[in-house]
Amino acid sequence: MTDQKTPLRARLGRAGRDPNAGRLAGPGQLRTTDLGVESTSGDGLSLADYAIAHGLRPSAERPSIPAYLRQLWRRVHFILAFATARNIAMYTEAKLGQLWQVLTPLLNAGVYWLIFGKLLDINRGIPNYLGFVVTGVFVFNFTQRAFISTSTVMTDSLELIRALHFPRAALPLAYVMIEFQQMLLSMVVLIPILLFTHEPLTWYWLLAIPALLLQTIFNVGVGLLAARLGAQVNDFSQLLPFLMRTWLYASGVLFSIQTLGHTVNSKIVALLEVNPAALYITLVRNALMSSQRESAPGTKPYNALRCAQWHTLGHAPGQPQKYQLYSAYCHYTGANPAHFWYYAIGWAVVSIIVGFYFFWRAETRYGRG
């Protein structure tokens, strides 16, 4: 990487900021006789001055952020069409075709049902453990897939980038669109699973919509970040599987971070809780699963006996579900659950601003490959 930095800086220094930077003796000097330039330009005028005087722009110049956003907005149909086209292409070779969009989450849920519902009788002190895991996996998959697919989008579309001019951010945006659509379908699969596991249908369910929208904004930012990293750092794709696996385990997909407090330092619990993936998962779980809302530690006045019962009977197999709900009588240990929505908004805003800026900085370099 370090080897590439010097010429880039040299290039950026000349790219329009200082019109005289290109003035050089010798070859840069305009030789009017060779070039057939009319005499108005005069002798000694550098080619750079001549170009600027005629309103020409450096070809590898990056547009300003407002101009870039405008260009991007004009490509909104392209982004949608590109997402649809990719979605279609993804399944053209499969016999079942688009059906896989629904089958994939369904099979995923099936695997967890088989393992956690039938083979292993564990609940980790969580009421409706199957619903808990499936919701977590589906929400986490949205971010994970957005991250992984955008990390290859620039190299996958190199020919398109080299052939046509368009704001390159359209490509990762389209990929996140695809994952958004995929996420909606997995939510369609999730709803009957939750109803089937005795979660009541309530107005709280509507809260899943803002939670998932915030997650989508977060994913766009992350996708832009991953797109540039994937395009410029080849080591990134080697590292990504480990990153994602660590993130999966740190985000409480298979266990509840909120009830870790009795074994883990409360500062670490708070850190795990406010990591974006865990936040969006928790918010969606709290929206869709009344068992989660009711069992969150700190939601009921502290009761030492019931909290102790949760620690023992709540974790034991074969006990009634009411003991698993007793975690509500324990103190909450990590971050304050009342602030989760603010953290979720904060992450979305930070992610999209940082991701966009980071991607835009390298706008002219994506065609290099």
């Binding site: 370090t2 080897d3 590439q4 010429p7 880039l8 040299a10 290039r11 000349r14 790219a15 290109g22 050089l24 010798g26 070859p27 840069g28 305009l30 060779d34 070039l35 057939g36 330039v37 009319e38 108005t40 550098s46 080619l47 750079a48 001549y50 170009a51 600027i52 005629h54 309103g55 020409l56 722009r57 450096p58 070809s59 590898a60 110049e61 260009q71 004009r74 490509r75 149909h77 392209f78 069409a81 590109f82 086209a85 279609i88 292409a89 053209t92 579309s157 020919e159 398109l160 980038i161 080299r162 052939a163 046509l164 001019h165 368009f166 359209a170 002219t364 370099r365 065609g367 290099r368």
Partner: protein
């Protein structure tokens, strides 16, 4: 007064190529390199363009000729703004579209979708795309294949469709990198006509081709490159091409006047995209 469209000012382009060899390619040697903070031994710098300067004007069709590896394609990519310059700069009026041999759009999608996506990506609205669609398909001449994935196309058909898409919008600057090399005789005549149209309707066209006859027919200027530098440049297309042929020891261009006249006549005939 002629209006400049492309100004190339003392352009230098350097490629950094990884994997030259010489690295033993083991984990231990990589670690050793990192610990010693040494540059990767396998990086090699290729100075592809060494100080080129020229100006292209509105309405120019410039043929770029030279041996393989003389930097022709690199020059076009630098003009298109896809390669950063090591030194110097390229200035353009408007956007430059590059048409290369292997600039496939999306191979696993149908030709139809490629046309729509290509138009939208170039910034056309949905309406404009719908209006341009029949013309593009007709011009490309791929016929019934339009609803098959592009990977099933012959290389000629693919390049015809790509050319048709890129030429659908009046590009300010069209860079054609041997994109016409795989087309058949009929398509060549059509693409000549389209290039001339673009030239007349305000554009500037750069044409890299090893078919010198094509350059002679299409271009009003020619740049002869060797090892990343201009050997000769000017409007005496036939003269420079003859010199280039003499220097590279190739067979002279057959300038059969009857064929020439027939092609010129066909080019002049109005074939609309």
């Amino acid at each position: 007064m002629a209006e400049p469209m492309v100004v190339v000012d003392d352009l230098h382009v350097v490629y950094r190529v990884y994997g030259r060899g010489g690295d033993r390619g083991t984990a231990a040697s990589s670690l050793f390199r990192l610990v010693r903070r040494r540059r990767r031994a396998s990086i090699r710098e290729v100075h592809a363009i060494r100080g080129m300067s020229f100006v292209a004007y509105r309405g120019d069709a410039i043929g770029v000729v030279g041996r393989n590896g003389s930097g022709k394609s690199t020059l076009l990519r630098a003009i298109a703004g896809l390669l950063p310059a090591e030194q110097g700069n390229v200035y353009t009026a408007g956007e430059a579209a590059l048409l290369g041999v292997n600039a496939a759009l999306l191979n696993d999608l149908t030709g139809e979708r490629n046309v729509v996506l290509g138009c939208l990506a170039m910034g056309m609205s949905r309406e404009e795309t719908a209006n341009a669609y029949p013309g593009i398909v007709e011009f490309s001449g791929v016929g019934d294949f339009i609803d098959l994935p592009m990977k099933t196309y012959s290389s000629g058909m693919g390049s015809r469709l790509r050319f048709a898409i890129a030429a659908a919008r009046a590009q300010d600057i069209l860079l054609v990198d041997e994109a016409l090399a795989t087309g058949d005789a009929e398509f060549r005549v059509k693409s000549h006509a389209r290039i001339q149209e673009l030239q007349e309707s305000a554009g500037t066209v750069f044409l890299v081709a090893h078919n010198l006859e094509e350059v002679e027919l299409t271009c009003n200027r020619v740049i002869w490159m060797e090892r990343g530098q201009i050997v000769k440049e000017g409007e005496d297309v036939v003269g420079i091409i003859d010199e280039y042929i003499a220097a590279s020891g190739g067979a002279p261009v057959l300038r059969d006047p009857v064929t020439r006249r027939r092609m010129k006549a066909q080019v002049a005939a109005p074939i609309k995209a």
